[in-house]
Symmetry: C2
Subunit: 287 residues, 2 copies
């Protein structure tokens, strides 16, 4: 079996790595904080002290880190992946990062006969645990086919969207749709409360029709219960919206709904809500 390197053992990464280990893959792991690797090391994974060491020992390296600057560091930094990956190694960035950086990694990789894919996911920590993530892939088809068995361990809805950067662009489409819809469902709840309606009863009337959405069915009940624990962190959502707005600007595209959503969430984050879940948007109206 292919030897897999895994870098980034946060909430998502640790479950994904565990699923790969459970599927029998020899696993080489690196993380900034070593303690997070302990359960995997106990399960037989081997510790690597740098991204470079991980690349040297693996056929495929998956990265699942935090922000684009972390991706940049892991791929291009001192002891980074690109300086150490052997010819033919496949580097897969599953972090939600910028399409521009994905293309830059692909170019740098190709210059060294290394292969790269961008493959961000949706489905959250639950999807990572259950191995049913949606995986949006950008890169060459032959590389995609080569790693499909690995993706199949991690996810269910796996689509090659196009060339390098296309996976990241697709994830941006996902976040863009969510961004304005979060405003819509939240304004709907706020209006319902202010009008003296019972928001749960309102949901009975509207959630199965043309106003219905995943966010309405899954996040509004949490808003109503006052449960602001993060399924998806506001700080990460802001990161994604920034990426999407930057990319849109580069393409000369005006996205007023996305800009509004970023503005509302940034105001909330500035008030200390950055570690709340995105459903805490309702607090914008209680200020």
């Amino acid at each position: 079996m292919k030897k897999i390197g895994f870098i980034g053992l946060g909430v998502m990464g640790r479950s994904m790595a565990q699923n790969l280990r459970n599927a029998g893959y020899p696993l080489f792991v690196y993380n900034r904080t070593k303690e997070k690797a302990e359960p995997l090391l106990k399960a037989g994974a081997e510790w690597c002290s740098t991204p470079a060491e991980t690349a040297a020992k693996s056929d495929i390296v998956i990265t699942m880190v935090g922000y684009p600057h972390d991706v940049e560091e892991v791929y291009f930094g001192e002891n980074g992946l690109l300086g150490a990956a052997k010819e033919g190694t496949i580097l897969i960035d599953m972090t939600t990062s910028t399409p521009t950086l994905a293309k830059k990694i692909d170019e740098a990789a190709k210059a060294k006969q290394v292969k790269a894919l961008d493959a961000p996911v949706s489905g959250g920590d639950i999807g990572a645990q259950k191995g049913n993530l949606t995986i949006m892939v950008g890169g060459d088809e032959s590389v995609f086919e080569e790693v499909k068995p690995v993706f199949s361990v991690l996810g269910e809805n796996i689509v090659l969207q196009g060339g390098p950067g296309s996976g990241q662009h697709t994830k941006m489409c996902n976040q863009i749709a969510i961004a304005s819809n979060m405003i819509g469902v939240t304004e709907s709840v706020v209006y319902a409360k202010k009008a003296g309606l019972d928001p749960e009863k309102v949901l009975k009337s509207i959630s199965a029709g043309a106003a219905g959405s995943w966010s309405m069915s899954n996040l509004v009940p949490r808003m109503l219960a006052g449960d602001y624990s993060p399924g998806f962190f506001i700080k990460h959502f802001i990161k994604d919206m920034k990426i999407a707005l930057d990319e849109a600007e580069k393409m000369g595209l005006n996205l007023p709904g996305l800009a509004l959503s970023k503005k509302l969430y940034e105001e909330l984050a500035a008030k200390g809500e950055e570690n709340s879940g995105t459903q805490a948007l309702i607090k914008y109206w209680s200020k």
Copy 2:
């Protein structure tokens, strides 16, 4: 069986009236343009030459007209319903109209021992034809129970939301959620196209997850096919958004997403798109 008056035989009203006739109710109809009543008259409905005459002949009168000023005219105008309804008559406005007007009708009705409900619907022309509309009701519970058999002919998801005006408020919650989501799904498609992605492939990745919604599944395919025919007219959507914004303002509530959506749709309407379906929002980016 109760005698039912039906006022307003547009795309929605004519199907609803036909379903009531098919269910065996004696039907008395009035419409500004008499020709639209012909199929119903052939099916045994009786023509009335004014709302007042309709009220005088009926136990229950349903109104399904265009704009709040039409509702105002039908209820309070010369030869209007309220001047002619007998004690105990039930007047049901199923037009999407203002909560404020619904309360005004209820008060005027009560002063004459007449009963009133506001009961706007969602589900569109297809729901009206199939008799599976969602009906959002405001008014007294005893009146609601009295007319439930009639509602059951017209719809399936029938919820008493609260006192007078609550049905209209609930419909506003529905439109508010749709308003921002339309921006979200449209910006997502526009971004996908600009980034060189295949939007249909993007839908495969994102429509079943956290970005998913009725609008994404049902209206985006029409956008992509260039089909702008109205499931729901832009001009009617603007009417609804105006009502919601007015009511929100009365309640001291700021709804920036709704305001943005109204602005975008008004710009489109000003360019001649008022009779297109709401999915024509994508044309905002092709200007």
